[in-house]
């Protein structure tokens, strides 16, 4: 029963089943009972986490005719994604209810998107990797357009869909070239075949270019970043919160599975490509973010810059580098959750806190929320002692270890430039007078979660065992890779 071990894919099966169940249950609920859907979705995430923890192993097992891999990294990333989606649902609940989006589809599509991410994380075959990516992307396109009467959301969804379809095409084209040369779709077999070939083989290089371009697009890296600001800006904030966090973690997984797992013998080629992408992302992301007046667009460009930093770890082509990247992407996800959570918190019925101006004088209105936003911003800027600083330190350290000191200098310079727009928000909150004095309402669970979300960024560093075990977990995940 080695090829058909269903129990290893139990979390995926459970999530897909529960998503179908929610789809049906939703039909029989009235608008007032619909809150039940929310609890069902959260129970799904908790159930999936329990199943994943029960099935944890330290050795890697491949099932389903070599399509599905189960190892330490897949368990840890899946658990991280459950937690992220759990927080996304909790932050979004009141927001989508006030905007008539509280429908079963929001949760169903998010859960299916999560299934897609889980498939990507456990992909050991080019085909399953692609199918997982498509399942994820299709759900995201629909979620961006979910607010049907908003012209901005529809436009963003259309752009996202067209560009996303092209990126999927590029990925398939690249994969078809790999298949043409190696004659196999299984990532392990591709790796073994490439080891016997010259890494300068023209078809391999072409295939690699297409694959790197497609991955860069999906992650939102310059020069494939054009969709990111439009989608974050146009989509309802709850959807932007989802799009900007969990899929990035899955993006890390496909970088690891495909570039590191399958194309490691071509690392000199993709290292050069990633260096260019990383410098462009850090540069353009940080510079253009300064010019933004809309906080969602600013966070989008800040996200692009963060993806540049994230690539620094991968392009170090070392286990410490991968560990640093994994740490970075998880910290990034939690910082972004907090930042978009604050945008949701400031919005209320009929009012979207979209502009940076809306944060003016937040300290006078509510000093606790201002403090939380301060923590989030300094962590994103990478000011010590925060997790954001620690994450940047780790990736830059890994770059220096490989001897590319110039790249480390460039990235620090861009980080300093980037600090400007984070500090501007802090200045607006503490030194300007509030124009809008309406009280900020939030449910108890949202207040607790967002406080926890922001405080962990600083408490995590001050409390040494936490950060040690966090880094330790990333190390275990990377060490488990073959």
């Amino acid at each position: 029963m080695n090829t058909m071990n269903l129990s290893l894919a139990l979390p995926e099966i459970f999530v897909a089943f529960m998503a179908c169940l929610i789809l049906v249950v939703d039909l029989f609920l009235s608008t007032r009972q619909r809150i039940f859907i929310y609890f069902l979705a959260q129970v799904t995430l908790i159930g999936a986490a329990v199943l994943t923890v029960q099935g944890m192993t330290s050795n890697s097992v491949t099932v389903f005719s070599g399509m599905f891999i189960h190892d330490a990294m897949s368990d840890i990333l899946k658990l991280a994604i459950y937690l992220i989606v759990f927080i996304v649902f909790a932050y979004s609940r009141d927001y989508i209810r006030e905007r008539n989006m509280f429908r079963g589809e929001f949760f169903v599509l998010a859960l299916f998107a999560m299934t897609g991410m889980m498939v990507m994380i456990s992909a050991a075959h080019l085909l399953s990797l692609y199918m997982g990516l498509e399942l994820l992307s299709l759900c995201l396109y629909a979620m961006v357009a979910l607010q049907r009467d908003s012209g901005k959301a529809t436009e963003a969804a259309m752009k996202y869909f067209v560009l996303g379809a092209i990126a999927s095409g590029l990925l398939l084209y690249g994969m078809s070239m790999l298949y043409g040369v190696t004659g196999d779709l299984s990532i392990v077999a591709v790796k073994q075949k490439i080891a016997t070939m010259s890494p300068d083989d023209i078809i391999l290089i072409f295939g690699l270019v297409f694959i790197v371009a497609a991955l860069a697009f999906k992650l939102g890296v310059v020069p494939f970043h054009m969709w990111v600001p439009d989608v974050y800006h146009g989509a309802p904030t709850a959807v932007a919160l989802f799009v900007s966090t969990a899929p990035k973690v899955a993006g890390f997984a496909i970088f690891m599975r495909l570039l590191v797992g399958g194309l490691i013998d071509m690392s000199p080629s993709w290292q050069d490509m990633l260096i260019v992408l990383a410098i462009l992302s850090m540069g353009i992301g940080n510079l253009v973010a300064i010019a933004q007046t809309n906080i969602k667009r600013m966070l989008a460009y800040s996200g692009i810059a963060h993806m540049g930093f994230f690539l620094l770890g991968i392009l170090s082509v070392s286990k410490t580098g991968y560990t640093a990247s994994m740490f970075y992407i998880l910290v990034y996800a939690f910082m972004t959750l907090g930042a978009f959570g604050m945008v949701i918190l400031m919005s209320r019925h009929g009012f979207e806190a979209e502009n940076i101006e809306d944060f003016k004088g937040l300290n006078q209105r509510n000093s606790w929320y201002a403090l939380l936003m301060l923590l989030l911003m300094i962590s994103m800027a990478g000011v010590p002692p925060t997790l954001g600083f620690y994450a940047k330190l780790m990736v830059i350290q890994s770059v220096i270890d490989t001897g590319m000191v110039w790249l480390a200098v460039v990235s620090v310079l861009f980080a300093v430039i980037g600090a400007f727009y984070y500090l501007r928000i802090i200045k607006l909150m503490y030194f300007d007078d509030a124009k809008d004095h309406s009280p900020i309402h939030a449910s108890m669970d949202m207040r607790i979660l967002i406080s926890f979300n922001a405080l962990i960024l600083i408490a995590g560093v001050l409390y040494k065992p936490f950060i040690d075990s966090f880094v330790g977990i990333c190390k275990v995940a990377i060490a488990g890779l073959s």
């Binding site: 589809e105 599509l109 199918m131 399942l135 299709l138 043409g180 078809i203 072409f206």
Partner: protein
């Protein structure tokens, strides 16, 4: 020396290439759809030549029989304004050509690299007369590729959910049928007997 198989192959290939070219060049969308039917049909004939009868029959039944008929209906009902679709064609022609030429060059580079060609592929052994195509496909789909097959199912489900979530609207004046009301109807609801004086 050309065998009978070669002649059949080249004849069908020529028709296929011709039909495919017509699909993209002809102006009338209905005719384009009909040429697409022709190209599917000839492709099915080529598959039969490759001993893939099951796939060939499915192609004719599903694509020619169902999908293309639906396509024709849509083309006829939507009354697509082609003049508007062609707007801006010249504007993007230059960049389109550039991309096309680049892709063509890449393909030439790849195909001329010597990694492809009949030398790298051993000819498959002839199949036995009772070889079951259906069985082979079944094993591939439901055993070897079961996992991705199931995910493909999920992708289709998401497509349905997304299409309904985005496109279905309930308006007050939407016309729809309610079968339970239809079967419960009785004569008095529908027929009104009017007594009229007979005229002379």
């Amino acid at each position: 020396m050309m065998s009978f198989q070669h002649i059949v192959f080249f004849a069908f290939s020529a028709i296929l290439v011709f039909a495919a070219t017509m699909v993209v060049t002809i102006r009338n969308p209905v005719k384009a759809a009909l040429y697409l039917v022709l190209s599917f049909f000839t492709a099915a004939a080529l598959w039969i030549l490759l001993q893939a009868e099951f796939l060939a029959i499915i192609l004719v039944l599903v694509y020619v029989g169902a999908v293309m008929v639906l396509f024709l209906f849509v083309v006829m009902m939507l009354d697509v304004n082609l003049a508007r679709l062609r707007e801006g064609f010249g504007e993007y022609l230059a960049i389109g050509l550039l991309v096309a030429v680049l892709l063509l060059l890449e393909m030439i580079l790849i195909l001329s690299s010597g990694d492809f060609g009949t030398a790298h592929m051993t000819a498959p052994a002839a199949l036995a007369a009772d070889e079951s195509n259906t069985r082979a496909l079944g094993i591939l789909l439901y055993t070897d590729y079961l996992y991705t097959f199931e995910i493909a199912g999920l992708v289709l489900l998401v497509a349905i959910v997304a299409a309904i979530a985005l496109a279905m609207r309930k308006r007050k004046d939407t016309k729809f049928q309610d079968p339970s009301k239809q079967v419960r109807v009785n004569r008095d609801d529908r027929v009104r007997i009017v007594k009229m004086k007979s005229g002379k």
